[in-house]
C-alpha cells in the first residue's frame, strides 16, 4: 500500500539530521515539519528572510508581515532571526543550508531536477527553486511517483526545463525511497505492500535494487 502524503512526510522527517538547517519547499515538503521531534534541534530556513521558522500561528495571532516563502502566515521560534533577502540567499548559495526538501515535476537518473516550468504550460516563475537546488548541501525530493496522467516523473533524462543539473540526492515518493547514484536510480526502500516491479513499471529509467 502506497504511503499517504502524511506518511511520506513522516518518512522524509527521518532524513533530517539533528542540529541541521533545513529549507522546506512550498507544498508537500511543508508537511514535514509536523513530523519532527521538538528536541531535534532543527532550524527551519525560509528564503524570504527567516531562520527559526515556527508552526502556523494560532487563530487571532496571525501577522501579515511574518510569512514563509509560500506567503503563508507563520511564527518565529525563540532564537529565530529575520534578515534581508541578500543575506538569506547568501545562506543558501554559500552552502549554509544543510538540506532542502523540494517538489519535482521530473527527476533525471543523473540527478537533474525540473520543478519550475512545463513546456507550453503557464510559467509560474522560478522563485527560490534554482538557488535552493544548486546551493543547499543536500537535496531531497518529495513527489508523487507519476503525474496525474500516469507518466513517470523519475525519468532517464528530463525534458522539462531544468531547475538545476545533477543536484538531487534522494527521492521520496508514495511508492519508494530512491537514491540517485553514479549508476542511476537505486532503491533504498519500498512503501509497505509496494513491489519493486510496480516501482520499476512506474519509473522512466532503470531502478537498481
Amino acid at each position: 500500500m502506497a504511503w499517504t502524503k502524511e506518511q511520506m512526510a513522516a518518512r522524509a522527517a527521518l532524513e533530517i539530521a539533528p542540529g541541521s538547517i533545513v529549507n522546506l519547499g512550498i507544498g508537500l515538503p511543508t508537511l514535514v515539519a509536523d513530523y519532527l521531534p521538538a528536541d531535534l534541534g532543527v532550524w527551519f530556513h525560509s528564503e524570504n528572510g527567516l531562520l527559526g521558522m515556527g508552526p502556523f500561528p494560532l487563530e487571532g495571532e496571525e501577522d501579515s508581515q511574518l510569512i514563509n516563502a509560500g506567503k503563508q502566515t507563520v511564527t518565529v521560534v525563540p532564537g529565530g532571526s529575520t534578515f534581508d533577502s541578500a543575506l538569506s540567499f547568501g545562506m543558501i548559495r554559500g552552502g549554509h543550508v544543510d538540506l532542502a526538501i523540494l517538489g519535482a515535476m521530473q527527476v533525471g537518473e543523473n540527478g537533474d531536477l525540473a520543478n519550475w516550468a512545463i513546456p507550453g504550460g503557464k510559467v509560474m516563475g522560478i522563485g527560490g527553486a534554482m538557488d535552493l537546488a544548486s546551493g543547499a548541501r543536500r537535496i531531497l525530493v518529495m513527489t508523487q511517483h507519476v503525474t496525474n496522467k500516469g507518466e513517470p516523473k523519475l525519468v532517464a533524462s528530463c525534458h522539462y526545463p531544468l531547475t538545476a543539473p545533477r543536484c538531487v540526492h534522494r527521492v521520496i515518493s508514495e511508492l519508494a525511497v530512491i537514491d540517485v547514484t553514479e549508476g542511476g536510480f537505486s532503491l533504498v526502500e519500498l512503501a509497505p505492500g509496494v513491489s519493486l516491479d510496480e516501482v520499476r513499471s512506474k519509473t522512466g529509467a532503470a531502478v537498481r535494487a
Partner: protein, 245 residues
Amino acid sequence: MSITSPVPAGRHRDKVRSSVEEALEPLFDGARIMVGGFGLCGNAEALIEGVVRRGVRDLTLISNNAGNLGKGLNAWLEAGIIRRFIGSYIGTNEALHRAMAAGTLEVEIVPQGTFVERMRAAGAGIPAFFTPTGVGTVVAEGKETREFDGRTFVMERALSADFALIRARRADAFGNARFWRTARNFSPIMASAAHTTIVECDELVALGTFDPDDVHLPGLFVHRVLEVKDHEDPFEYKTTRQRVG
C-alpha cells in the same frame, strides 16, 4: 576666499515629504522602478497606489512579484503602465498572466537569489559576479559561464533602477529605517540600488530614536521619507494551527 566651482547641495537633508504626490514628484515616463515586498508582504501600499494617479507610464517594474489577488502591484498591471517586468515569481497572479498572454508586457524571470544579488551588486559598486544558480538551465543561455575550482558558474550583471519604493515600519528624517519581521526582504537592498529611494513608513520618529546598532537601512540610501499611518497590510494566505488542549 571664494569657491569658483561650488558643489551642489547634497540630497541628505530635508527628506521628509508630506504627501504621496509630493513624494512621487520626481517620477518620469519610462522609469525603472524597484518596489520592495515579498508578494503582498512589505509593500509600500500608498506609494504603489500613488504611482497610478501620478500618471507615469512605460515603466519597468523590478519587484519579486507583481502583486496578487488583485492587490498591490496588480493596480499597475491593470492601469497598463508597465512595459517590462523583472522579477522571480508569477504564481497565481492572474493580472500578470493576462498581461503576458495579451503580449502587452515583457517579462524577465530571474532566480530569486540572483535577482537580489544583482541589486546588491548595483548598490555596492560591483558590475558583475559569478553564481552557480542557473548553470545548465535556460537562465544561463546566452550568458558567459566559467569554471572556478572545477565547478561551473554563470556571470550575472548588476541591476539598478531610477527609483525604489520602500515600506518600513519606522523611519527618521534622515531616512534611517527599521522593518518588521519578514517585511524586510528585498527592501534595504533595493534602496541601495536605486538613484532615488522613497520610503513610506508607518511611523516617522525623531532622529536618535533608533539605537545606532539597530538601523536596518542607513539613511544614506534614502532620499525621501513619507509617513503613512494606515496600511491595509493584506494577508496573502492566512494559515493557522489548532489551539491544543
